[in-house]
């Protein structure tokens, strides 16, 4: 590693993390209160639509996390600064967990709604591929002993996987899928009532703070590991 590591950064992170812990806790309490108690059931789905408040933010942020991972990989290719690998390595397991949450909650919602746990349609399949991409990215760092080589291969893999993100996003528009098209991010007005949009947005904010908090913890760990390996050599 040939970059300068600011020694104070680890301490700064350590000092600021409790603020993020508590913000995550507070935003989740508010979000879940609205999602579970203070919002109406859906006119067709009834209360099972509340799964959506857990499912949709996880799915959004699993795509967001991968975008950050892929952009970090591209930045590493261009600037060759190992700090970008630390970003990508820090976010990969968080994105993988968010992807699992989206897949599992979607499956639980799918059974009463569609009548099946799983369907090999374009949205569900591309989401499963996203999970495998995260796993593959993490595995390259684990399996390849030569870190220089691991950096190259993992960055290539992370970049190639970026192509899956627009596929996931637009799969419901390009192909016939069992999964319904987008409710919020479409050109016309969102087809969700404000009383349901509010808990969804609150939960998204909560998830975002969870993502940032977990990312900072992971990033701090990566920095500590770099420091340890420097002492060893």
């Amino acid at each position: 590693m040939f970059y300068k590591l600011p020694n104070t950064l680890i301490d700064t992170l350590r000092n600021w993390l409790p603020v993020f812990y508590s913000t995550t806790l507070v935003t989740f309490s508010i979000g879940l209160y609205y999602a579970i108690y203070n919002s109406p059931p859906d006119y067709i789905q009834g209360d099972s639509m509340r799964i959506m408040y857990v499912h949709v933010p996880a799915a959004w942020l699993s795509l967001g996390s991968y975008s950050i991972l892929a952009i970090s990989c591209i930045a590493w290719f261009v600037f060759r600064n190992p700090i970008f690998n630390l970003f990508a390595k820090s976010i990969a397991p968080i994105g993988a967990v968010f992807t699992i949450i989206a897949l599992v909650t979607g499956s639980i919602w799918g059974k009463p709604t569609w009548g099946t746990w799983w369907a090999w349609d374009a949205r569900l399949t591309s989401m499963l591929i996203l999970f495998f991409l995260y796993i593959a990215y993490m595995m390259t760092w684990q399996v390849i002993v030569n870190k220089e080589l691991a950096a190259k291969i993992s960055a290539a893999l992370g970049t190639i996987g970026f192509i899956n993100i627009p596929i996931i996003k637009f799969s419901v528009d390009w192909w016939n899928t069992l999964h319904q098209p987008a409710t919020i991010s479409k050109l016309s007005a969102p087809s969700i009532h404000i009383s349901m949009l509010t808990p969804l947005m609150l939960m998204t904010i909560a998830y975002l703070f969870l993502l940032i908090t977990l990312f900072l913890i992971r990033y701090k760990t990566e920095l500590v590991e770099v420091k340890i390996s420097r002492i060893k050599h």
Binding site: I44, I74, F79, R80, T113, G115, A122, T159, N176, M196
Partner: protein, 146 residues
């Protein structure tokens, strides 16, 4: 930007462009494998192998649904507002199955316009509304069934 960085940036962007083109070619050619179900119009055009299980999806046509108590056979028509497929089914209907709502059936094509379903899946739309709002909209005559 140094010359080296610029060169690398161009290489990465070019590789990514090639990747996009390759993906487009693959997904366009594999469309028939990627789509989860055929629309009734697709089924009319496609050469369907009667031995294979296929999926057809669309809206359940209004007042086409009927259930025979004696034989326990469900009958309904799937439409995409251009072509129609009639479906016969014996089994469990999903709760959200309703006329004018989306449905996907899996089964064997008996002809170009009829399918014997082995499984029926309800397709949910992207609308989320509380029941009171729907009642109010219906009262004002502003609610439109798709």
């Amino acid at each position: 930007m140094s010359k080296k960085v610029k060169k690398r940036l161009i290489t990465v962007l070019l590789s990514f462009l090639i990747l996009i083109i390759a993906t487009l070619l693959i997904t366009m050619n594999l469309r028939d494998n990627i789509i989860y179900f055929y629309s009734p119009s697709d089924l009319k055009d496609a050469e369907i192998d009667r031995q294979n299980i296929i999926r057809v999806g669309g809206l359940v046509k209004e007042s086409s649904y009927n259930y025979d108590e004696k034989s326990k056979i469900y009958n309904f028509v799937i439409t995409d507002n251009m072509n129609e497929i009639s479906v016969t089914y014996v089994g469990i209907m999903p709760n959200l199955f309703a006329e004018n709502k989306g449905v996907v059936v899996e089964g064997l094509a008996t002809s170009k316009s009829s399918v014997t379903a082995l499984e029926v899946l309800a397709k949910h739309d992207e609308n989320y509304m509380p029941p009171e709002v729907i009642e109010a909209l219906k009262k004002d005559g502003k609610w439109q069934e798709e």
